[in-house]
Symmetry: C2
Subunit: 183 residues, 2 copies
């Protein structure tokens, strides 16, 4: 039950589960599928990794995970996580940024959409009912710790179909949040 986290780098001593998402795992999520295919052909890089610890998946338990999101873009759209609603949509989630510069994009079924800038020490709460996606808008790894009910679950299907209402695109040295025309 005791673990260690390096509060500078997010490195966990004990890990129960690792998820690695390469470019080829992200088909359907980036808006420019041609640029994505090019990226896959040119070495299929890792977009992000998730290092999870959990005690039990039964209701009442909490799990946590460190996500390391690489820096880059696909046709101008910044590297990002797939994003998901919780299967149990009444469940919230807590994010603590340890490193890098990111955005936490959130939207609910009623059409509300918002985003928080994330930098070290930012601690953001995803309220129940909000799908959430993390985007790396900086030029180094964006690393954050998430804490969530162990039985919250992931629902990617809705996101893969329509995406989020907003895309986060490169603009000069920064970013801009634009409407997703496919939504």
């Amino acid at each position: 039950m005791l673990n260690e986290i390096d509060l500078e780098t997010g490195k966990l001593r004990d890990i129960k589960n690792i998820v690695v998402r390469r470019a080829s795992d992200m088909r359907g999520f980036f808006s420019n599928s041609e640029a994505l295919e090019k990226l896959i052909e040119s070495g299929d890089p890792i977009i992000y990794e998730v290092f999870e610890w959990k005690y039990s998946s039964s209701p009442g338990n909490l799990s946590y995970a460190v996500t390391v999101l690489r820096s880059g873009d696909v046709g101008g759209e910044f590297y990002m996580t797939k994003g998901h609603y919780h299967e149990k949509e009444e469940m919230g989630e807590l994010y603590i940024c340890l490193r890098g510069r990111g955005l936490l994009l959130m939207q609910n079924r009623e059409g509300d959409v918002k985003w928080s800038e994330m930098k070290r020490g930012n601690i953001a709460y995803v309220p129940p009912g909000y799908a959430h996606r993390s985007i790396n808008v900086g030029d180094e790894e964006f690393i954050f710790l998430a804490v969530y009910p162990s039985d919250a679950g992931h629902n990617y299907g809705d996101i893969k179909e329509k995406g989020f209402r907003k895309l986060v695109m490169k603009k000069g040295d920064g970013y801009e949040v634009v409407d997703n025309e496919k939504y």
Copy 2:
């Protein structure tokens, strides 16, 4: 929904609720009540403070709090939090130590008792069913972040009556964990 935490000191920018426990709030919790009364008379110092943020208390939400536990002892028993079971005993809790040296003492209804040493970067999980108490065994403030289901609740009554199975006492420059004879 966006907050900031100083990952060195635990200081939160936004706080919804502050709990301050002075020596006089701890009657019944320290084993040496004579020493406690003396401490109360000599200025009734703060033992610990809890700085809580929450979005909503409804089921499915998560809350978090930073606890700053002072350094000291009451008749040789280290400064500590009251400790509690959750009202909803099926709910777990996550602790991340930011500063200082402490112990996280846990026990369940079946008689299991255990403790974890806490120092910066230690991340400890309190499983469902375990009462939990934090103890400062160092000579500076022991500061940690806790994340818990917003509807977990606190049940102090059982602890005030019998305490924990173990006491954490000064021993030379360190500590020892001894049986609580009143339990």
